[in-house]
Symmetry: none
Subunit: 410 residues, 2 copies
């Protein structure tokens, strides 16, 4: 099955944003064995959108159009699709009801009439009901080609791809499935990782092994198998995954979409431990990441962002003279654990940069770990990059240290 | 002058990378007044590259092809261009010399013969001599259309665009520059914004007005003017910007790349005020955003993430029975302000969801503002979306409330 992606939006042609939707969609389509031979991008211009859809429909079995479905005057993908199909537009009452209901739920007063444009649908098209946003997706069939139109807002596009389009396409092309599994590793450099798994990499055919550098979020190794069924694909992956895990040990922190924070929260929950966080240079990033993960409520008790030295002293009672020090990290972890009455306290202090502090260069970071009544641990490191990268690296590094510590507890 | 970008590379169609070259090229072309109406992406397939170049040449004055000029077997843009032009390939001795010389300079032993593919040029084409890389760019003219081909490696593409292509195009279309200004608005829905500026939108020609939905980060209105000089373009934008600002008032929070947090920090700094943050459902997001902005050190004193009710009581001394309440927000703002000795305390408490809390539905959020010795303010709202959206909306809403409060201070 061959698919083509048409992205609509003058902002793409002006270079204000990159076409990340096409990237994501292509990756997902490839994963279910659908070939993508072309991407097109056109602006918010009726004739050119109609032409682009026509071109795509002439050479692909499936066309996915993204963008131009919103409520404003320059959202004209609906009209272009109707023009291409040669049908008029019709207001779908069930979509109108949905829009009014969403507006009420959002707590806004009165819905502007222009919003109802989103209830106008080319006659005969199916709609995909939106969860997050207000613009419905559209589905039309013409001469054996299926045309999908989804919003350009990435979250809304992803919702419709995952909820409707990818499952429909999978069902239409049985017989070849592609399954991937991603192992995520932290605490090792890209070339060191590549060397460790070089033999496995050389020998890999089905599944194939690929490296995906993910920068700050760690490195990933992807295993991709093709087979007739998902079960067969998984069975091909399983022995290779085992070999990889043997090679990499506890460098592997997560699988597929798992995140460092979800893994850490699971480990805490399994051990019945609650958590407190004291942050300096990361300014709330560590806590914010933990709160992103589901099920954090029973684990994370609270956090203190002691950005200024005075606040470290007054609120956390830090007495260490240097605040960029192991001693300070140790005091912060101990204090925050007591302050919010948690089982585990973690801390990070350091120099985000660009200026040095207390004679220590940008990137100097110290971490603290206070677990129950065990002796408080602290360690320092030097992280690379600009200010924001140092803060991101510090965040993931602290969570990884906590992960390794929790694994070492019985 | 109309240009079209053709990106070549199977990795783009597999979704392994985003088409960031097209983004960058489009932005640069727009800035010199060249219109881009289409992007195309094709894989490393001779027929499809020839077709794509043909399509682009049929509707544009300038075609820029990027990718497929390297030394490997799947680099076939050279061959596709020759096929499209209907000319044979010829080895250019001066490029061959250049390749050998570069190889020596790189300190490599012997140049693989395959590297010489890069010296093969469609007969009659000009070359762009590479500085960083080894692949020369190509320039051909056919029926009044100029076709450029540059490497896909971003640095090499940029080098040839900046060194050769953009200057040539500027010289071909003197006297047109394009300048944009983006006004960012918060606290208003997309359709309501569109209605408010509908008249301006309808009447707009030069500058044009466009809406850019940015979801949680607020909405943007972009003014784009074409003129002979940057000064004239700015002069065209100025009166329209004034009208927009009159219509939108203090809904406009930022211009171009400014962020909500940088604006808030500037307002605090101008007024000589320091800040404290108490967060519940946002779990550190508010503080983390503020820390992202430059110059935060002199303003943000500290933050408390009181995720659990017990911590709100023990650390912030909250006495309100309901923690999802105006009263609690007021107490949190007052307490954190005192706790870290700041001039201004802000707070947010509420229900991220998906479950309700204290009988209040997901999305119910209360904000508190404690400024100096003024009476503490609090207000509630109901935010839309899933858990993570509620938290993001709550973060930006709290910062926007603080912005409006600071504007109201003399």
């Amino acid at each position: 099955m061959r698919a083509e992606i048409v992205a609509v939006g003058t902002e793409l042609l002006l270079g204000q944003i990159a076409n990340t939707n096409a990237r994501w969609m292509s990756e997902e389509l490839a994963a279910i064995g659908v070939d993508v031979f072309h991407h097109q991008v056109v602006g918010d211009n009726l004739e050119r959108i109609v032409e682009a859809i026509g071109m795509a429909a002439s050479r692909a079995d499936v066309v996915v159009v993204t963008g131009g479905l919103g409520p404003t005057q320059d959202d004209i993908t609906r009209d272009a699709l109707a023009r291409f199909l040669g049908v008029p537009m019709e207001r779908y009452p069930e979509i109108e009801d949905l829009l009014r209901e969403k507006f009420r739920a959002f707590g806004r007063r009165e819905m502007p009439e222009s919003n109802l444009r989103q209830a106008d649908v080319p006659v005969g098209a199916r709609t995909i009901v939106p969860q997050r946003g207000t613009a419905p997706g559209l589905v039309a069939e013409v001469d054996g080609t299926t045309i999908y139109a989804v919003p350009g807002v990435p979250e809304e596009m992803v919702e419709m791809m995952e909820g409707t389009i990818l499952p429909e396409l999978s069902a239409m092309s049985p017989g070849t499935v592609v399954r991937s599994k991603i192992l995520r590793a932290a605490g090792i450099g890209e070339s060191a990782l590549a060397e460790r798994v070089a033999d496995l990499f050389e020998a890999s055919t089905n599944p194939t092994i690929a490296f995906l550098a993910r920068g700050i979020e760690g490195l990933s190794v992807r295993l991709t198998a093709k087979a007739a069924t998902p079960e067969e694909a998984r069975a091909l992956i399983e022995p290779e995954e085992r070999k990889l895990r043997e090679t990499l040990g506890d460098l592997v922190f997560a699988v597929d979409d798992e995140t460092m924070e979800s893994v850490v929260l699971d480990l805490l929950r399994e051990r019945g431990l609650t958590l407190a966080v004291a942050e300096s240079l990361t300014g709330g990033l560590v806590a914010a990441r933990l709160v992103n993960a589901p099920g954090t409520s029973s684990v994370l008790r609270g956090a203190v962002v002691s950005y200024m030295t005075e606040v470290k002293r007054s609120l956390l009672g830090v007495r260490a003279e240097a605040v960029v020090s192991e001693e300070c990290a140790r005091e912060m972890a101990t204090a925050v654990r007591k302050l919010v009455d948690a089982d585990v306290g973690i801390s990070v202090t350091g120099v985000a940069g660009p200026e040095e502090q207390e004679g220590k260069p940008a990137g100097t970071v110290f971490f603290g770990l206070a677990v129950g009544d065990e002796p408080v641990e602290a360690m320092g490191t030097r992280l690379p990059g600009q200010r924001d990268q140092v803060r991101q690296f510090a965040t993931i590094s602290l969570l990884n240290l906590l992960r390794l510590k929790l694994l070492s507890l019985s």
